[in-house]
């Protein structure tokens, strides 16, 4: 299939390319950027007038809910949500049921995802069996099955000895470990510690839950020398520790969720369960620091933290409601909103959802990732074409995700995805209502 995307503004953060021109695609690859190859005759032409043509988004945190939680989300619904949001590659977490702690379910997941021909799926394997924090998984076998790194999802490893061994073992093979920084005991609360939690009578999660976990992790990294990706940082103090540790030479990368980038605990308002999230929303000074950190590169990537939750699990008192919100379809718009509010160049804004997360992904699976998160000739054509001048109003019922909960309900957001191509094939567009 030969596709020509014409009249758009091509923005490729990986190469710093930002200029109008055509993008030519043939046999799944980009064959011309800015100019057409000799004799290129497209079978399909996409008129991207007024649109920006960017690499398909790379989302480092999305739950697809398979296997085991199909009532919350299915591969088909969540991957359709991904391409509708311009996301062409995503990392899924191992907290499925059963957890992704054996090669079989990982292979099955990848096989099923490939057959759906939507976004690419890169699973994280469980770091410990059943995410119990006791026994290490067969990491080599899981890596061979397609896991790009190892994670505990929201489950902390409470036994420091186990965490030490897990980091040591992963470092042996240079597998990246992706961890949330949250102390298991201090992290049992419902909302971020602070005036709002006190006022609403919700048990608190202090910032120390994050900083203590980071201190522990950094000390262990000094012993083991492995690479760790910190998932969904939530506090200003945590960010400060991370900067210091990185300055000391530790191999750390980190991401922040769209929720923590834009919201604070005040958005819980009168017990709005769509704002029940992990990590919990913190205060304005934390949000401001995270926004600054993403802009100055201390935080590498912006993630959707997509977690579809079914209505029954949210129609409960706040503390009993299941944490999580749908985000795949909001990621691009919320990146743009942040970039506009900070007055950033599109290249810098879009890097946080394309080239930067792709770079982190590539550390775990270099061979499978050629071309992800960038628009370059002779590499795969994962492309998102969107209209930056059109805004849309978030209406949860209209999300393609099976999860209809988002704390951004009613927000008017910039940027509407028009076409999404994965591997040179059109996967979302006007013909995909």
């Amino acid at each position: 299939m030969r596709i020509l995307i014409k009249n758009g503004r091509i923005i490729d953060p990986a190469s710093g390319w930002d200029r109008p021109g055509p993008l030519a695609i043939a046999h799944g690859c980009i064959v011309g950027r800015g100019q057409l190859p000799d004799g290129f005759e497209p079978q399909q032409v996409i008129d991207a007038s007024g649109c920006w043509v960017i690499p398909g988004l790379v989302d480092l945190a999305a739950r697809l809910r398979e296997p085991g939680c199909e009532h919350q989300g299915m591969l088909a619904s969540e991957l359709a949500a991904a391409v509708a949001g311009g996301v062409t590659s995503l990392v899924c977490l191992p907290d499925t049921d059963p957890a992704l702690d054996e090669p079989g379910p990982v292979e099955m997941l990848r096989f099923r995802a490939q057959n759906l021909h939507q976004a690419r799926v890169f699973p994280l394997g469980a770091l410990t069996r059943g995410l119990q924090g006791e026994n290490l998984t067969d990491m080599v076998a899981l890596h061979q099955a397609g896991c790009i790194g190892f994670s505990q999802a929201e489950h902390a490893v409470t036994n420091t000895q186990v965490l030490y061994r897990a980091l040591q073992y992963a470092a042996t093979f240079d597998y990246p470990v992706w961890l949330r920084a949250q102390d298991a005991f201090l992290g049992t609360g419902i909302a971020a510690s602070g005036a709002l939690a006190t006022r609403l009578g919700l048990s608190g999660v202090p910032v120390a839950a994050e900083t203590i976990a980071l201190h522990t992790l950094f000390e262990l990294m000094r012993l083991t020398g492995g690479a760790v990706h910190i998932c969904r940082l939530s506090s200003a103090q945590g960010l400060q520790l991370l900067r210091q540790a990185r300055a000391q030479g530790l191999r750390i990368s980190c991401d922040v969720s769209i929720n923590s980038l834009h919201l604070t605990d005040a958005d819980i308002a009168y017990f709005d369960s769509s704002a029940r999230l992990n990590p919990p929303l913190r205060q304005q000074r934390d949000r401001d620091a995270l926004r600054e950190g993403l802009a100055d590169g201390s935080i590498n990537a912006l993630v959707s933290d997509h977690t579809p939750v079914d209505a029954n699990a949210k129609a409960l008192p706040f503390g009993q409601a299941e944490p999580g919100a749908s985000g795949l379809e909001l990621l691009l718009s919320l990146a743009l909103k942040w970039g506009q509010e900070r007055g950033l160049e599109p290249l810098q804004t879009l890097a946080t959802v394309t080239s930067a997360p792709a770079h982190i992904l590539s550390m775990g699976a270099p061979s499978r990732l050629a071309g992800c998160g960038r628009l370059q000739v002779n590499e795969v054509a994962d492309v998102c074409v969107f209209d930056p001048h059109t805004s849309w109003t978030v209406q949860p019922a209209q999300l393609r995700s099976q999860g209809k909960h988002t704390p951004f309900n009613g927000y008017e957001l910039p940027g509407r995805v028009r076409w999404t191509l994965v591997n040179g094939q059109l996967r979302f567009g006007p013909a995909h209502p």
Binding site: A197, R199, F271, L316, P317, Q320, N409
Partner: protein
Amino acid sequence: MLAKHNPQLNRHGELIHLLSVEGLSRDILTHILDTATRFVSVSDRDIKKVPLLRGKTLFNLFFENSTRTRTTFEIAATRLSADVINLDIARSSASKGESLLDTIANLSAMAADLFVVRHSESGAPHLIARHVAPHVHVINAGDGRHAHPTQGLLDAYTIRHYKKNFSDLTVAIVGDVLHSRVARSDIHALTTLGCAEVRVVGPRTLVPADIAPLGVRVFHDLKQGLTDCDVVIMLRLQNERMNGALLPSTSEFFKSYGLTPERLLWAKPDAIVMHPGPINRGVEIDSAVVDGAQSVILPQVGFGIAVRMAVMGIVAGNDA
């Protein structure tokens, strides 16, 4: 966006549910207290009834055990001529796995007009209020650590009854503030009504670090906290809280924070002593104080009926 609006007021700013004292204006609080004053006399009549809620059905929905609060709500509703249904939720639907909102939907189908709800989770009455039909009213009888608004109002009523004016009063709330919905509702009621100073007193494990923004002064020393107080509100120390690392023992608590006749001398000579009940004699408060001349613990219970009658009458008279 629904959850962003104060759900207890209608578009005209009138009270349609009572979920929390927070966010209610001084006018609304004063209106409730004034209405309660008129209802106090109903209890002294031969026929202790007025027909305000005749034909209305009230469901007492207590997902958490309570005798005193449930009974006073029942008495209040009966005196307003409402039909009262008490449900032992803990032993019925919830234990069979029915969800909170399904329980509410089923009871609504039985033509309920008012729900009085107690629940162990903060915010549960808000959830219910968002899902009931427009003509149905919800009164929070205590949710988690969040709010116990009728208790806050009856405490304010009691203080006004004995002290007349809030503007020159110092009130100390002593004990387990962290887990106390009563403390939160008292704080909101008293600060809204213009109390000169509201204090909270307790060990650092039981006083939230972020409570000062609610408009209170924090004390960890009982003597300092009680000095010059007009009102002392003692909070119940819940036995179920004693299994963690919050306190070494109840006797250790009493050593530092238990209210004895000697310690009560630190407050003003005419200070009144209140307690939301049930009291633990010898744990947070000495028997001699409970039964002493400054104690108004039993009158509080009586005022509670009038305040709950006032709240029911007011919310039932306003449409969503």
